[in-house]
Symmetry: C2
Amino acid sequence: MNQPALKLHPDDTVAIALRDIDVGEVFDQTKLIEPIPRGHKFAVTAVKSGDKVTRYGQVIGQARLDIAPGAHVHSHNLGMADRLNAVIHQDTFRADPKFADRTFDGFHRSDGKVGTRNYIGVLTSVNCSGSVARFIAEAADKTNLLDAFPNVDGIVPIVHGTGCGMNSQGEAYDTLFRTLAGYAQNPNFGGILLIGLGCEVMQVADLVGGRPIRPDGTLRYMRIQNEGGTAATVTKGLKHVKEIAALANQCRRQPAPISALTIGMQCGGSDGYSGITANPALGVASDFLVSSGGTSILSETPEIYGAEHLLTSRAARPELADQLMDRISWWEDYTSRNGGEMDNNPSPGNKKGGLTTILEKSLGAVAKGGNAPLGGVYQFAEQIDTNGFVFMDSPGFDPCSVTGQIASGANLIVFTTGRGSVSGYQPVPCIKLATNTEMFMRLEGDMDLNCGDIISDGVSLNEKGAELMELLIATASGNKTKSEKLGYGGVEFVPWQLGATM
Amino acid sequence: MNQPALKLHPDDTVAIALRDIDVGEVFDQTKLIEPIPRGHKFAVTAVKSGDKVTRYGQVIGQARLDIAPGAHVHSHNLGMADRLNAVIHQDTFRADPKFADRTFDGFHRSDGKVGTRNYIGVLTSVNCSGSVARFIAEAADKTNLLDAFPNVDGIVPIVHGTGCGMNSQGEAYDTLFRTLAGYAQNPNFGGILLIGLGCEVMQVADLVGGRPIRPDGTLRYMRIQNEGGTAATVTKGLKHVKEIAALANQCRRQPAPISALTIGMQCGGSDGYSGITANPALGVASDFLVSSGGTSILSETPEIYGAEHLLTSRAARPELADQLMDRISWWEDYTSRNGGEMDNNPSPGNKKGGLTTILEKSLGAVAKGGNAPLGGVYQFAEQIDTNGFVFMDSPGFDPCSVTGQIASGANLIVFTTGRGSVSGYQPVPCIKLATNTEMFMRLEGDMDLNCGDIISDGVSLNEKGAELMELLIATASGNKTKSEKLGYGGVEFVPWQLGATM
Ligand SMILES: [Ca+2]
Ligand SMILES: [Ca+2]
Ligand SMILES: [Ca+2]
Ligand SMILES: [Ca+2]
Ligand SMILES: [Ca+2]
């Protein structure tokens, strides 16, 4: 790491220290007049009181005092700016369709979607059927039931902690319903066995009723109370699994266009490098994917809070900006009625790390979304019915947000992490991007790609974005991710629980 | 089943049809003047408009019209009564200490508590360490690690969907903290390995910090990010498990007094028989247990709503009545700020089954608690520090409520069910009581005791209560329940999620 600091955009008024910098050291033409801790900012030009201060080429706040070149820029001299006037330019959409002619080898489903894996899902309506789902999967494993079906990747119990003790209508019910119905339709499942208890609020009959879920016969269902208890349900369930697997086994990997890829973008365990390395590299890949016909999903609404103007200003149609702002308003209400608040960020830890304003913090998270036009705004777990760059509302909590993205139709997850998140999400492969080389080396058994070399070796964002695209295609075609090899995914299905548990 | 109907208390003004009854049939001296569907009520005496109507010897409402003997009593002629005036007498506490000299064979812990099982728990601070906890348990199973430790019952991963994406202070955090700390202290664990990721809100250091959790060295902890990722954590975790198991293996079953039993009482998948058979039979056993020195925990606050006067009138000290009413007020606020309500019961399905008022419905649930004085009121997952009959606040949702009871210190769970709930809750055995003989026959592989014979064979509540006490003692001493034999408990740890998921 040669350079002591990084200017993220040519027009920026601040640079970021990549290590602790002493007074008197020089970066570009700027001589430091205060010591700058790693991750913190200093002025690279004279800033007058009231001037907008920019990082990522975007306003992160307004100077409260005159700031000299080489001075530390933080809470003592930088305040919030008016968000509505904070967009000073739109970064360029890297509309490079260089991957448009590439294909991946996927499982073509009867509804036109393409899976990147071919699992049998044992889906549950309620916690009370979760153990039976796992008994069925374990019995199938023990009896090597799937050996006869080499095109099937495995059996995945989808188990959770809710489905009853809730109102049978309203937001909480609708959200769980969309999540379960969405998993039932995810193209990475070659077939679904749905198991309920019988007396729960989330009724199996409603989940399968009336809508065209898997009209090809690859969805079956049972209720434990109707079948005569645990043992009878497991026995009959194994029979169902065998029949579903025979159907799913007929599906083989065939070339599919890049437009059949839908990636869920995620960050978790972020650090000071997330907004500089892995997140913008993922943003470049998102631009490449979108301009090649594919779909990328940005989520984690609490983490874009403060930078939503950067998304609304990219809205392909005015009503999409309205829809996003509606979700922001909903979140303000949701947190306030639960005794919290949206703008308690940056946290003390964030500030210690050098982040000054919520604008600045959220800019790093939004960087994952590149610069493509915003083509859709979706509720949590809502089916995504357009290609391009879209936003799906969700909490920032990783397993919950990813659960929504998979329910919405994601067939790949790309997850940036600085501290080292190790989770995986069956039935969808999850590619882990390390934001820094040190963590990548330490957790190499869990990380799929190092983005720390953007700083440590000067790799360009464009190069890293293209490298990531190649990894996406290889993974979509069957190459296993680290978390798949380790066997992750058995406990990471986490529906968003809204409303009171009764 | 000879008798067509049942009068639950000698003074009752209504009887309950045990089958559909025709006009003209006679029960006691009452000739039916309307057809009565099974589970519904009819008057056994003349009731004047404005009179209190009683069932279970308790007021369930007030007549809105004059009601003739043999007439159907339901929503058309029965309304709510003023709850404060609804207590007409206190049923007798069956203070029969006939089990006071009995013992069970349990595992005596260094803090004075006694376990009914001797498991190693692999406890997780956050969803993100859940898979690693399971990998450790699976690897221990595959390598037969526990074969050298015959007094250890097995390894139980305690995995959940929360621990991050939440505020780091307040009600939601405190509730989860109590739950995890409570599991770490449950006497059915001979030792605990606690695993965190590292960057989560619910920090391992806080969970183990400062308090005397397992000062005997049977609690160890690790963080995945500190250990160098998944593989390194699993390897080191197995080493920890082996050392913990060696300590836990030194504990052997020794006679313990009945006073060391703490039962969590629960109902789930209730039906029209729950309040007549299994619940009051459990109430008798609770009275026997309490008068023999033991502890029984009633919970499920939404299901006692409307009948809380029957608990406050039994409060051993006035402040306990206040504490219970404080929890009721909290629930009214909790449901209202989440857009629901407490008194939307009985549901349409309840009404169809013959339940008219919320008083009547909740009376059936409260029957589980017998008639002992109320000796304590506790928050969800709060450590229970008194013997006797106590109340622990919780939702009615089975896995969540049982999770709170186990965290509070329950070493046995007794679960009544009419529809047939099949779940189990490691590390604590769960005894299933069937409310009706038909369901018991159909789900015999899942049910431990039939209480339907109270109606079908005229078994008395006293006899059934004593039979249940014998089953409690045998189970506490090591006899396996049906759900333990089936392998339940891997997914039923469900902490109560309060507050917004961020
Ligand atoms: Ca994030
Ligand atoms: Ca739509
Ligand atoms: Ca996240
Ligand atoms: Ca109940
Ligand atoms: Ca319950």
